[in-house]
Subunit: 354 residues, 4 copies
């Protein structure tokens, strides 16, 4: 490997400045030679090919089929800076070579967790609906407007999906001293107990919890698993917050539960975004958040920091710990809709441009 490591930076559809602030950029340049170009879209294939023989890491969404990986003998890590593992990297070739496939996904855990908690408190207390009523001169004061209000403190709370996001939420909930039931089929009960929560079946979480957070990622196996039957298991007047991916829910059934008034529901994600102007969800009792939970300035700042921290470890021959590492066992399952669509868009783009 060359004395000074080389890094390929291919941030599209993000821009370099969104990932690294000036101080972070200086830290990157002190660490390695940065190969990049100021282009709209992905780096030109010629630049990528020229860099492959010497790059130690790729930051970005560059297509990396097995042939390219074979041409990059010093490559140790491919760091996706968008937030999803994507199919345009040949994972098998990477794992066989000990090349890390990393994602900045963890940076969104705290922002989404705070939003999810905010949405749950809103529904438990009627914050948004009461503000609206007061603007319309329809408010009720004190106890008279509070028949349905309840505390999250010491409540039974359900979490479906206990990855970075679920664990960040659990931490935020510490002060509420809740009982937390967790359903996550990828985790043994003891791992959930170590976090102070109780492992439970999906049915048990849905039928027992007063507040339910739907936080599972989409895999090739779990699309729509929160279907109408699952929703009907939830107790009357429970609070339901959907904060990960719309595709895990049978969305029309969710809207129907909100429309009927049986459940209090908030969502940050929708099957099609932007939502159509005449979509009736806009006038439903659902609390609506237009996919804003994750992408806040603090998350983007955190991307730069985590990428640099792990790059430093990798270049020193150590294991990365601040980004999400793709697992040989599950990388094939972790294909969110966004990832697949992005892959398709990429394919079209590549067909046209390269």
């Amino acid at each position: 490997m060359p004395d000074r490591p080389a890094i390929l930076l291919d941030p599209h559809p993000r821009r370099r400045q969104m990932i690294f602030n000036p101080a972070q950029w200086a830290r990157l340049e002190a660490m390695a030679e940065v190969i990049t170009a100021d282009v709209e879209g992905p780096l030109p294939a010629s630049l990528v090919e020229e860099a492959l023989p010497r790059v130690a890491a790729i930051l970005g969404q560059t297509d990396m089929p097995s042939a390219r990986i074979a041409r990059a003998p010093h490559l140790r890590a491919i760091i996706n800076v968008e937030g999803n593992f994507q199919p345009n990297v040949d994972a098998a070739s990477c794992f066989a070579r000990g090349i890390e496939i990393l994602s900045v996904g963890p940076v969104f855990a705290h922002p989404v967790a705070e939003m999810a908690l905010g949405l749950a408190l809103d529904l438990a207390r009627g914050i948004t609906s009461t503000d609206r009523a007061m603007r319309e001169g329809q408010e009720r004061y004190g106890r008279s407007g509070n028949d349905d209000a309840f505390l999250l403190s010491r409540a039974t709370i359900g979490i479906v999906g206990f990855g970075y996001l679920g664990r960040a939420l659990r931490r935020l909930l510490e002060g509420f001293r809740p009982r937390i039931l967790v359903h996550d089929p990828w985790l043994p009960a003891a791992a959930i107990a170590e976090e102070g929560c109780e492992a439970a079946s999906l049915e048990e979480v849905l039928s027992t919890a007063r507040v339910i957070f739907l936080l599972a990622g989409v895999t090739s196996e779990n699309q729509g698993f929160i279907d109408g039957a699952a929703l009907r298991r939830i107790q009357d007047d429970a609070v339901v917050v959907l904060a990960s991916r719309a595709a895990i829910v049978e969305f029309p059934a969710l809207v129907a539960e909100a429309q009927s008034g049986r459940l209090r529901i908030a969502t940050d994600v929708f099957p099609d975004e932007p939502v159509a102007p005449d979509d009736p969800v806009r006038r439903s009792p659902m609390l609506l958040s237009p996919h804003r939970a994750g992408g806040i300035p603090a998350a983007f700042h955190d991307i730069g920091e985590r990428v640099l921290d792990d790059l430093d470890l990798i270049l020193r021959g150590l294991a990365p710990i601040r980004l999400q590492r793709a697992q040989p066992q599950t990388v094939a399952l972790m294909r969110s809709k966004a990832a697949r669509e992005y892959a398709k868009d990429e394919a079209e783009r590549l067909a046209g441009k390269n």
Copy 2:
């Protein structure tokens, strides 16, 4: 004292059923003989006078001037079930006799703290305003709508007033790992440090914190202490949540800061409630909650429990610990507007009826 203790129950303006559910009522009757009457308004003076010679405790807002206290040789506690210490009890006579003056105020701490946190998260992330925008077809997705969004996690948070409410809020915030600056002139710095917070001057709290919770009670000395000059010390775009009493703030100055867009403000209290139909605050950017933070079903359930717990201790000759105890030093200061108005109303009512 008689073998079986007697309790006078005079809950007006609350009703007995609001304070004790059936199980709690059974516990009360097992503990003592209950003297009460099903009347609108306070108990008739004749009933009170008849009971005084043998009552061990009064639950309610009965006028207790020194003469009445003198006629109650077994009296050990006067328990206000409304939530404020009121001037219709002669505190000096009570303290001289070791009679406890107790209030159910602590039951509102958790409900108000959760609401205050919900309001702060709403302002930090624009939950209510974005829901409104989406109903109007004006939403922006993802990062584009998030320029002003920030995390409470690891933020610098200011708390003004650190009684039951402030401490309940601090506990809820544990999971956010914030730096918390507390201003409370009744507390030494070491007492604040024991709670993991930093004591600070009012000026320091206002000028340093990104999120400010105004949680002080009203005393005869602090009305309007958050005035225009104080508000101007707060940094641009900070979040301010008023959740205790409107009278601690110069309210028009608060509304002006919201109108100008310089601060993000939520309030649960207003100088005059109900707010006038044409009050411009209804159309201001302020997040509006019509005095709903405290009076939720869980709080009323808690009243019964705390009253019974402390009554049990008192009847066993022990010190109460679950209700707020009036302090000889400060009882004269703790006169909220509600209390004073209630006292005036009471006086008028008494003049007319007795």
Copy 3:
């Protein structure tokens, strides 16, 4: 009251320098005029009498019968700097006047709690006994010496007596995620639950817990309540740590349980101190600590700080919060052996000298 408040300092049997370091002394003098004298023993009666008409507070163990209290019209607080409430202060006169009776007892809570935890870990793992074995060349390595070793983490822990000390210990145990059963007849179950513990009967604590901390103070009612029958309820091989007062235990029965090897026992207190040179307890399997748990330098430093903090509040007309306040209901019960003996010693001394 005079413009500048006067304080009487009568620290015997402590000395002024043990209570206030130079910085603390400067803070005291800035706060008030200090009336004191450099004498062995208590202040002369003449100095006390001369001071009474103007003192705002007494720091020390001065005899304060009702007649003296009557001659101190400005008196607001009597602050015992030893650690126990003593019978040489007429409590009824104080309570009738709103004079606080305060004790520095809380300063010992943390030191004793850390020692109690250290003793429990020692017994759970055999630290002292194994060090002794290794000095004698009798050690066993690794697993072979560990048959009886167990974790406090997630263990069921019992606490008998849940005052300042018990609560300090509970806090230290947080990281161990234990189940904690608490027996304290002065506390309602809900107050114990607020601390994350479970209220239980004495029998339940003794028969259920793997580690039992005996932390109750001595009152006129509970001497020897941990008797032989109580000790026999404890499960075989449990760990028992006595860290408050020897008088709450039937001590010979405790020693017998240690001698038989049925229980693992540590104690910081003994019925007679110093322990007689030939007392067989010295050669028992009990882990022995000669009343060292509380009186460490950090505790003495804390006395000065807490006294000054509360004095400042009192002189400003506010309620003290950093020292222990005598309660009208229980002051008569809180008479530890030390207190009673001290009172007797005082009486003899007074008889001779005044």
Copy 4:
């Protein structure tokens, strides 16, 4: 792969019953066909060879050179049940195939952490030395024996090495509200900050902390890095607890610091175990623990549970999470003395037997 997965169990030098209790054994058999034999020592090579074509996992310390790995096409995991990664497994072949190399090391984290805390409390308060003094009739009571006693609460604590053990200790320390400085060259500062600690250089930890825990594992690079010069940086009278591996310390220098009385030192590990009968360390002021911190019954119970939890995940095609995973980057570095000696012993054994 065959319908029912096969597992090779080769536990030597542990025995099957030490790893699985009856309930755990039943769970294992329900999960897979178990191939094993009741032999002293490792399984016969013939049995291993016969099993390789169909095994999904190996539980034990079987030699697995690349040739054997090549003969095990269904192999997904090699689970060491002793506690160290050993050189008798060809790591490169495993990583290229996505075969997990796992160790039960995490089961020892909590036991060692509790012991380390117990040793630190002992040194801070003189528990063992005072018990010894009292047995010799030399005890001093109360304050007079406490000049050197100090609190861990709010102390500055240093941790050198922040793997499973360091993190377990940090959790135990939560209730002490300490400031914790951590030195671990494999971790970015932000990862340490996420645990509520501060990253620091080794020099800063040694010179700043009042209590220092030496918890680093041995690698091929860090042997003896706590040398005499490092020890001299530690402040006078600090507490030092060595609880990982003797080889990270220049042991004679450590003993010298204890002998001189400058530092208070406890150790659970020694360069040569068993310690020679006439080793002067036996009479030194050091607090001595004969390698007992980890191997307690709870740890052995935990081995079975963690192995079964991860085996279940692996057989379901998911990633293991309860055992330590060897990292391609660092597996070559993680060679403790025990591991190397074991490898040597193994080599000798293999030479003789196979």
